[in-house]
Assembly symmetry: C2
Homo-oligomer: 235 residues x 2
DNA sequence: CGTACCCTTCGACACAGGACGAAATGTGCG
DNA sequence: CGCACATTTCGTCCTGTGTCGAAGGGTACG
């Protein structure tokens, strides 16, 4: 009368994430960019041979894709579902103690504004969603008509996001802020547009993004509330 | 110049899920009930000693809670966040091939209607959300005023769900249907009310739930669309 | 109390798999 | 063609951990 597993077996996938080196690799890829095998070895702090073995296993388990370019091989997460797993896991995982000053500065940068795979997170992401809500541009898990006009005017490909097979505009729980930010296809499209406009740019710390002067102006014009724009720059 | 992990380290938590025996135990607990250590050993197909060791590790990692009752120790998931991790992992995990007739019947039961930790999932869960939407009771990620009246009238503790620190009424992606069902605090409250009314009851297969005759009548009165009520009983 | 039962701890074993250096493969460039 | 570089494959070592039987606490019940 025993019940054999008829659910999806999650153990093999979890095992792929369970190794510290592979977890470091996956986390490094969490910003959606593709990194070369050598870079990943360096980030994870292991030899090239070791990283290669791990990447082969991740590839086999379909957690990452590879694109060959010359003598480099660039690896990236195979999709946003993988990023979601990592984020959800982070939500119930302990945050390691901060050791150095530099680390605490990096931590503050990430709490301020970062990308969560392909959309904006951290205080900036939460503030953006708050601003959209306060202005009547977003309600429930959808844009209002007014919101659709606003974002389209800013160069966001709203129609394309709607056509995507991905969920359109779900709220995504932020694991530093413990509040929601904008995720899904629309979250990605908005973030893409913000980069295109130069309102945000990538920082030197992986996943960290930085509000530019133009961005501060543009956003404060759109959202009169202070939340989004008053945050002090981290230097 | 290497980047040490300043993110939450997810590897230890993933390692807890990565062992097949522990994954079986966690999956068995996914319906939110508390099971005794012996039962868990049996469902996982290991000796009591082995199960005990695994449960100790899960306890240490805060994935499960234990409640001692006489000479039994009942284990349960420590919270819905843990259940969410398991569900998200299942979404990117391979479904094992069906081996026996009994397994395929069980699989059909679960696809039809099951609980996802504490709310309704499967075709029944997806149909319920569809019905709420079609009737104008739910839009975006919130109840409409009409929906609030309807559910309150059915005995759902809507106010309590709103007061919860959990998200109120998020859409939860169903990994068998690949469509959304109702999750969060409201999903749990609705499911609780459906059980209280006797419209659904627990099946013999873990996590499976069964639509009762009263439930069929009640739901078809509320939601004229056929989706929710026409499904053929699995025998 | 003594017995039956549930569960955990202990001791011992076996095995998976992660680590590296060295060598092999493959690509680009002069 | 030959050298430089990125990456993988191979061989080997070694730690970590999952497994069980047997023994050791607790708890209930007659």
């Amino acid at each position: 009368m025993e019940h054999i597993a008829r659910d999806a077996d999650i153990a093999p996938v979890a095992a792929l994430i369970a190794d510290p080196t592979r977890a470091a690799i996956l986390t490094a890829l969490l910003d959606g960019r593709a990194l070369a095998a050598g870079e990943l070895a360096r980030v994870a702090g292991v030899s090239a041979a070791t990283a290669s073995a791990h990447l082969a296993r991740l590839l086999d388990g379909r957690l990452v894709d590879v694109v060959r370019q010359g003598r480099h091989r660039y690896y990236r997460l195979s999709g946003h579902e993988v990023a979601e797993v990592l984020e959800v896991l982070a939500r119930i995982s302990a945050r390691p103690p901060v050791r150095s000053l530099r680390q605490s500065r990096q931590a503050r940068l990430l709490e301020e504004a970062r990308t969560c795979y392909d959309h904006l997170a951290g205080r900036a992401g939460v503030g953006l969603l708050d601003g959209l809500r306060a202005g009547g541009f977003y309600a429930g898990a959808d844009l209002t008509g007014e919101g659709e006009r606003l974002l389209t005017g800013l160069g966001v490909d709203v129609a394309g996001a709607r056509g995507s097979r991905r969920r359109f505009a779900p709220e995504c729980l932020d694991w530093t802020e413990r509040r929601a930010h904008l995720g899904g296809a629309l979250g990605a499209a908005v973030t893409y547009a913000l980069f295109e406009r130069g309102w945000y740019r990538r920082g030197t710390v992986p996943r960290a993004v930085i509000l530019t002067d133009e961005g501060r102006e543009g956003l404060s014009a759109l959202f009169p509330s202070k939340e989004l724009t008053s945050h002090t720059p981290v230097t």
